[in-house]
Symmetry: C2
Subunit: 553 residues, 2 copies
């Protein structure tokens, strides 16, 4: 992308977009705004100003420990108020906050620490075992900061040298002379964990973080009278930017602290108690919370709340029930670690209200939404050409923009995830309709590439499973001498249909939704097929198992 | 300000923030959104997509006319849909749009054209006389583009060479290969017109314009279901960024076209008809519009609307009546040409709702508001030290940030409007309360500098006029051998009070609100004092007239 210089401006174009300015301005404007964190059975409450003083103390303490501009500091914590402080204190003093995903396997976690050459690790006391397990492998770590309310002497761990977060802060001054950090410097890092290979490092810049926070604020119509619930873990895609967004707009911030996936009802309770109006979550969290709400005699009034839901397509019933029972709107949004993460958001464009029936509007809400202003989007076919934006043609969803990563830090092996003109390849395939709403249907690796065209395996599986005789079905791409790949369908019939329903019946059924050239050449009736440990169809295994199906003879 | 480089990020930090991306993304997402312009008795309506095609045509036409990256193109137009197109088409192709203020005197206007070395001038047919008057003085202009619905042959003007906006567009293709403009390049220029000296050029960058639009969107909670009314002239401080803000968020855009200051009722009618929810204006426009609404039998429902009001403090009665009669909220905001202009906005912080009585809240609404996140603010005393943020101490309001100018383009003589650390000096003086709300009370040049302290002339005038015997009063600073300046009060007594009320009575009255050292040394009872042509007290004249009052003996 050739950048063209024009006539010089007179503006302060060298004023840096960095997270220090977000917190400084936020506190100046909203020093009395509340930050609330669940701490066991009680609630910890303080104000932006209180938090800011501790953020200054943290920066001072890090400096005293020898932390220098550019150093990487690991953080392994729950969604706590101290984590909020680290979101500012670490990048504020010029270091990089490496967010350590507490769900990673020890080999991956130690890889992250070594790869980032992390110098210090801050860890919540409850998570010490995870850090202790990898400590012998972590070559660059020079010390550990334990996050606890106990005196350091009562903390049981062999990690050394060991510091107490609270004791460090207590000994530091509550003001700090922040450096003017260059906006293109890294402020935080998250590592993506694909199904294959080592975690890959995405190093967010101050600039990308700032612009992303502005974009979420603007697309969510956030205001000082909003209350953001930090539901998504702060080690996932920088917590959807929650800690930065709130202080930018002056909203109340609610943190769940340490939480138990088996007791998500407690999160629902917290959301209701604190008057949450905005949050970023996922169906896996929102569904159990809805269960709790369903059981309440008196339903909470959450009208006006916008609950962002990422990860997977939100179930229609979940969206409908949140609205009916509480007035809260579930808004599907899409993003990834590489994208900061806000990429698209599903808001109803005003003119669609009149053009669409209620059911059509609900159906629309299941899409990933439109790509927010600030980002370029391209749907590319296997040849790298843009496909039509007609809601049908399928392409790989690729994006480019100020809060999208342009590379991975020091990657192992060649990185194929970028197009020549700088778009990040998401690995997700789907369509875009004429209104710009994305619908992601497949992972590119699961899609069938036939004669330069793509066939969606997911769509075909859904079509097969909509036939009454089919219990379960999967469709994979199998190598083909002429067409590169062709679809192969594996079908488990319901017991009562066995011997009665045949291949032609199902092909006729598929023919209603698919072009002839898209139909599977072969359909095998099986008793079952390979699954992964979490119960998903294991297409990797199936592709190996059936790889010769179209090349045998 | 020393900028510190940290660890490198992996993000696309070179992706430019430019206005081309705003319109490209805006049209991708909201191609059906409406743009509406009043054109005489009828309404012109089209969509973002229609506008975008014409923007492409405009860029193509300019290129064909020989316009190159960096060229300056003058625009003299009403708030029209074609002006909207020029807001994108001119900077989009890499040129700088010089906004020509149609209220400027011919010498100032020709100065602007020559100073900016404007190459082409686009002018609405109705404004041809203004351009014809200065054309002989404009050395750099190579051609004129007339904006009209008529065939070019029917346009009566001697300006040559003459092009027709519509004919140029008709001959151009409706797609354009936009350059990736460097974000620090100028996209538009406005010239400030102080009371003294030549107009000074502020050249907005693509970056500053982009970030300002995001900030207005985020601080006004704008959404695709909003409707922005472009009330403020598009040649004033880049029209408060309206044309950029709407496409960024996908809002409807309503333009008043050519309007008559004597028929502001028509604007009120338009606002009601089109369902406006947001606008930027000033009391001078909002007051007559309110008059019209007052006379309506059936009051319009504008509830939820946020009408920004700049320029001067909005009268309390106006704010209350808008709310009572229409439900619209008048929001005072502050800015200047040098600040893009959004600097501060007066929104009620949620906790103040409970802490303040209704009357206190109304009083608060008259303040300039808090400085939006993204900008630094300092209130400096005459020695350049920050004053306390206690709602009392008075300082000059100085700001710094990504959408504040850092200089003037090619200025005449020394520029004293910047502090050493890069803050722009607004020339406005006032206080900031502990919640961050600004209250601007004086122009710095009208303030009285006494022994290193400042005394507000406006506050003292208001205090004097609150005495029942006083018809009119003004307070000026007069040179003093010891204290630099001391206040001198000029008082016109009401007829019935003459001979009854004396100096001591009024000093006692002032003593209730002012410290003893602040009281005027002298108070002169006069029959009247010098006024400017618009009826404001002419302090420049008065300062000359009384300059020897404290140094005579």
């Amino acid at each position: 992308m050739e950048i063209v210089k024009g006539f010089p401006s007179t503006m302060q174009d060298d004023y840096q977009l960095n997270v220090i300015n977000i917190i400084k301005h936020g506190v100046r404007n909203f020093e009395k705004q509340q930050i609330v964190c669940k701490a066991g059975d009680r609630m910890f409450r303080y104000t932006y100003l209180d938090a800011y003083r501790r953020i200054c103390r943290l920066a001072g303490a890090l400096k005293k420990l020898g932390v220098e501009v550019g150093d990487r500091i690991g953080v392994m914590d729950w969604n706590s108020h101290r984590n909020f402080e680290m979101y500012y204190g670490i990048p504020g003093c010029g270091a990089v906050m490496v967010l350590m995903n507490l769900r990673l396997s020890p080999p991956d976690l130690s890889y992250v620490v070594n790869h980032s050459e992390t110098k210090l690790v801050a860890v919540d006391e409850t998570l010490l075992p995870l850090v202790e397990a990898i400590a012998p492998l972590c070559k660059t770590v020079k010390g550990y900061i334990v996050i606890t309310d106990k005196p350091l002497s009562e903390v049981k761990t062999a990690l050394r040298p060991l510091y107490s977060y609270e004791e460090l802060l207590a000994a530091a001054p509550d003001d700090y002379d922040w450096p003017h950090m260059d906006e293109k410097s890294a402020c935080a890092a998250c590592y993506t964990t694909g199904t294959t290979g080592r975690p890959k490092g995405v190093y967010y810049s101050h600039r990308s973080t700032y612009l992303h926070a502005m974009a979420v604020g603007a697309n969510g119509q956030l205001a000082p009278w909003d209350c953001w619930f930090q539901l998504v873990p702060m080690f996932h895609a920088m917590g959807w930017g929650g800690p930065y967004i709130v202080t930018m707009v002056g909203a109340k911030f609610v943190l769940p602290g340490m939480y138990n996936l088996a007791r998500l009802d407690l999160l629902a309770e917290l959301m209701i108690q604190e008057g949450v109006t905005m949050s970023a979550g996922a169906p896996a969290l929102l569904m159990p919370m809805l269960e709790y709400i369903r059981k309440l005699d008196r339903k909470p009034d959450l009208s006006g709340a916008r609950l962002l839901s990422g990860a997977t397509e939100p179930p229609l019933g979940m969206m409908k029930d949140y609205l009916a029972l509480t007035g809260a709107e579930i808004i599907h949004a899409y993003g990834a670690t590489e994208t900061s993460p806000m990429t698209s958001i599903n808001r109803l464009k005003p003119w669609l209200k009149e053009q669409m029936s209620e059911e059509e509007r609900w159906d629309l809400r299941r899409k990933q939404g439109y790509v927010v202003t600030g980002l370029d989007v391209a749907l590319l076919d296997p040849a790298g050409q843009e496909v039509a934006r007609d809601g049908k043609a399928v392409g790989e969803f690729c994006i480019r923009g100020p809060w999208i990563t342009g590379s991975y830090y020091n990657p192992e092996g060649p990185i194929l995830q970028f197009t020549e003109d700088g778009f990040w390849r998401s690995g997700d395939a789907g369509s875009m309709d004429s209104e710009g709403y994305l619908k992601i249907t497949d992972r590119v690796k699961d899609i069938i590439k036939s004669g330069g065209e793509w066939i969606s395996s997911v769509d075909m599986e859904n079509a097969l499973m909509s036939h009454p005789a089919v219990l379960e079905a999967t469709v994979i791409g199998v190598r083909h001498p002429k067409w590169e790949e062709r679809p192969l369908a594996l079908v488990v019939l319901r017991e009562e249909a066995r011997g009665k329903t045949g291949k032609q019946d199902l092909l006729d059924h598929l023919g209603k939704a698919f072009a002839k050239w898209q139909l599977p050449d072969e359909m095998l009736f099986v008793d079952g097929f390979a699954k992964t440990s979490v119960g998903k169809t294991d297409k990797k295994i199936l592709r190996v198992q059936y790889e010769g199906a179209y090349t045998k003879d």
